[in-house]
Assembly symmetry: C2
Homo-oligomer: 195 residues x 2
C-alpha cells in the first residue's frame, strides 16, 4: 500500500518546517492525485534555488548575486545598519516601508545552551562591517526573546566599546514574540521609537 517512492517522498516532505507525518502524507497524496505539474515545478524550483541562491557578501541575506540589490541600492541610507536574526525578519521590516537604511543578517542568535556562540552567527563579520567608514548607527532588531535580547546585549556592549552608536528597536514589540509574526504597524512604531 505504501510503495518505496511514495514513502521516500513522505519522508522528504517531513524535512519541511511545521510538517508532521500526517500533513506530509496529505501533501504527497495531493500532489500525486491532483497536481503532478506542481510537484515537478517544486522539484525544479528547489534545484534552481539551492544552486542559484547564496548569501550576500556584504549583508548576508539571500541573493543570486555577489552583492544583493538592497546593498547596491544608492537610494538606501548607508549610514544606518539594521541587524536582524534572519532574512525573514529583514523581509518583515522591509514590508513596513519605514526603513531606508541597510541590513546585516546574522546566522541566527546566540544560544550558549545549544553551543551556538559568537562565531557561529557571524559576529566578527558584523563588527568589521559596523566599523566601516560611513556607518553612523547600528540598529539592533534581533527578536525580543531571551536569546534575541542576549544577542542584542552582547552586540551593544561590543559595538559601543568600539565607539559605534547603537540603538535597539523600541519595546513596542510584545515581549516573547518573533518579529516575523508581528503586525507591520507595531514594527513601524518600534522603528521610530528605537532607543
Amino acid at each position: 500500500m505504501s510503495p518505496g517512492a511514495l514513502d521516500g517522498l513522505v519522508e522528504a516532505l517531513r524535512r519541511l518546517p511545521g510538517v508532521g507525518p500526517k500533513s506530509a502524507m496529505r501533501m504527497a497524496y495531493h500532489l500525486l492525485q491532483h497536481d503532478r505539474d506542481g510537484a515537478r515545478l517544486l522539484a525544479q524550483t528547489l534545484e534552481t534555488a539551492m544552486s542559484a541562491v547564496r548569501h550576500c557578501q556584504r549583508c548576508n541575506t539571500f541573493t543570486e548575486d555577489e552583492i544583493c540589490a538592497t546593498c547596491r541600492d544608492p537610494e538606501r541610507d548607508a549610514a544606518l545598519l539594521c541587524v536582524v536574526e534572519t532574512a525573514a525578519d529583514q523581509a518583515a521590516i522591509e514590508r513596513t516601508g519605514s526603513y531606508r537604511g541597510l541590513y546585516f543578517v546574522l546566522q541566527g542568535k546566540l544560544s550558549p545552551l545549544d553551543g551556538i556562540g559568537p562565531h557561529d552567527i557571524g559576529l566578527s563579520r558584523l563588527y568589521a562591517r559596523a566599523g566601516e567608514e560611513g556607518v553612523r548607527e547600528v540598529i539592533l532588531a534581533t527578536n525580543f526573546t531571551a536569546e534575541g535580547e542576549a544577542t542584542a546585549h552582547v552586540l551593544s556592549e561590543t559595538l559601543k566599546s568600539r565607539g559605534v552608536v547603537v540603538t535597539r528597536l523600541a519595546r513596542g514589540v510584545p515581549a516573547g514574540s518573533e518579529l516575523e509574526y508581528v503586525d507591520l504597524g507595531t514594527i513601524a512604531h518600534a522603528l521610530v521609537d528605537r532607543r
Copy 2:
C-alpha cells in the same frame, strides 16, 4: 531582496495543501539556511515519485506496480470490497488493523455543484469491479460529509439494483468529519457495526 529563484521556490511551495504565503517563505528560508541537503532530497523524491507512482489497475490506489500489493495479497478476503474516497482514507482504515478485505479508491466524491459527476470519480469502473465474481459485499466507507453521504447514496442505489450486498460504515464516525482525522478506535468500531 527577493531574487527570482527564491520567489519561484516560494510560489511552488504554495502549491502544497495547507501552505500559505508566510509558511512558504519560512520553508524556503529554512531550506536555504539550514537544510540544503533536505531540499535536494525533496526535489529528487518528488521527481521519482511523480514518474514511478501510478494507480493500481484494480483498486486505483497508489502503487509502483501494475497491481498493488494489497490486491495481490492472497491473505486478503476477496469477498469484501471497501469503497473509499482517497488513498489517505484507505491508509486510515488499514491502520486500524481490523479490515482484511480489498479496496476500491474513488477519484474523489460526487459534487454536482463543482461539476464532479459519476464519470469523474470512476463509478463505472467500480460497478464493473463490484460485479466481478467472488465479491460478496461492498462496504461504503466514503466520508460522513454531505458529499460523501450523497456519493454513498448513489452507490448504494445502483449497486443494490444490480443485486450486490451493500453496507455502510456505522455512524460511530462523527457527522461532518473526514475519516483521515478520525481516531482509529472509532473507525474500528464503525467497521464492526457496518449496516
